[in-house]
Amino acid sequence: MQELTNAELTKLVHQLSEKLVILEQKSRSLSRNEFDSGDVSWMLTSCAFVLMMTIPGLALFYGGMSKTKNVLTTVMQSFSIACVITVVWMICGYSLAFAPRREEDNVNNWFIGDFSLFWLHEFKLDSSHQLAPNIPESVFCLFQMTFAIITPALVCGSFADRVKYGSCMLFVAVWHLLVYCPIAHWVWHPDGFLFKRNVLDYAGGFPIEIASGVSGLVATVVIGKGAKFGEEIHNPHSILYTVTGACLLWVGWFGFNGGSAYASDSRAAMSLFATQICTATAALSWMITELWFRKQPSVLGTINGAVAGLVSITPACGYVDNTGTALRNAALLSDLTKLLILILHRCFLHWPSGRAAMLLWSESKAQTGL
């Protein structure tokens, strides 16, 4: 057995200590950038995708559907909402929805967050949010900001053609703080009461789709009908714009649903898969329903079906695994629904077939002379 001399031993110890120093430096740099670069890059991409859904996606989608004399108003509303909500979210919206849970004070924030992140003053370069520890908080905040932007833009689709611009912006800011932030807190924040009951909402079925849809309905009831609703033919300015917007929405929704995994992992991939399948089936089933009642598959109807599919898969796409089964069940149910509606149609409602057309209702009324 070979014995080490004193000098060799010293040399070895020296080399070891050098390696230790290098290792320590490496671990320090790791702890400074503990974020997964793949996750961060996917989330940054998703932010861009979701912003693209509002401008230009939703702006074109709604702009194309509105009357020629109101196109710019509609587009302008979506665009300004993007600016207004960004500022409001920065000032206190993010804090109200996602202020971190504090262990030291036993406040039960089941309803809404607090002002502890007012003006985002606690942001640091490497801080992260408890819901997404693998990405920087700035990315989390930005991603949620794009969600907060698209929601009021959806609401404004209900009354875009008859409100004052300033009042609309005021409504958007107040609505964001009083409706969107609390519901987002209920559903997504670990303190929220629905979150504690283990409610499943993957990418915003409650705060975004239900809240915006219901609010849009209530706002139209309060504001009142358009001046010539039902009397005048509603001529969409350009269906081509609407199709473009719907396509942008579809593509952008990949970031919307895929990004809600807060990681670039298999769950994100599965949710994208489910999104694509559900959107396509919904568009097809709307088309077939329309074919049944109107004898013509309309462009507007089909893209609306696609958007409806995107909306309805939003809360679920992170939770369904065997999309084939889900699809089969969905197809079966949609057949049942159609059958049911057909029976209702025959027995009770006596809808003229033309009346089933969505935006072309008035036009077909004129044609059939009803």
């Binding site: 004399k69 909402d201 409650f206 849009g216 089933s285 609306n304 599919g309 679920a316 695994d321």
Partner: protein, 183 residues
């Protein structure tokens, strides 16, 4: 399911008589409610830790039903809360600063009335253009009537000012740089 349901959701507006201009409720409200409820039906523990009704293989079948009940609770609370708050906010804005534009604006179209821009020639934009044209012509006429001899075709704002300037100056004999460019 979503396609047909939203189709009839969107048609509701004609049957119930509310004016949801671009179908925000028909698509997003109905689609969102259907989607969140279906999450309770189709969720799979292989992905998220709880099973929906159709994926519930436990003997009692309670797990899936409980999940569906939670989803239903969420839908009901969210619907009621956002409906109440929106009604409050809209009526508050309506009573304080006014939410709706005047019928005249609505008739003419908001693009021209609020933003002063239009995408094509509508009566309003036509009126705007005509107004501008009338103003220009009257200015030019004013210049020529003054006898200064500056009634040239206006090519830019610069020459506008020149016309104005020379008219007010009463030194119409001086030639402005634009004078040589007149058509």
């Amino acid at each position: 399911v979503a396609g047909p349901l939203c189709f009839f959701g969107a048609n509701l507006k004609h049957r119930l008589g509310y004016d949801d201009a671009l179908d925000a409720f028909g698509i997003h409200g109905v689609g969102g409610i259907v989607g969140t409820l279906c999450t309770g039906l189709f969720a799979s523990s292989a992905v998220c830790g709880s099973n929906g009704v159709f994926y519930d293989y436990s003997k009692s079948g309670n797990e899936g039903r409980r999940q569906f009940e939670v989803q239903l609770l969420g839908v009901v609370t969210c619907t009621i809360y956002s409906a109440l708050m929106t009604a409050l906010i809209t009526s508050a804005i309506d009573r304080s600063v006014g939410f709706r534009v005047s019928p005249e604006f609505e008739e003419k179209g908001l693009d021209g009335c609020i933003h002063g821009e239009t995408v094509e020639l509508t009566p309003v934009s036509l009126a705007l253009v005509t107004k501008k044209a009338v103003r220009r012509v009257s200015m030019l006429l004013g210049g020529s009537l003054d006898g200064s001899g500056h009634s040239s075709t206006v090519s830019s704002n610069g020459s506008f000012h020149n016309v104005m300037h020379s008219t007010h100056n009463k030194k119409g004999t001086e030639l402005s740089p634009e004078k040589s460019n007149r058509s």
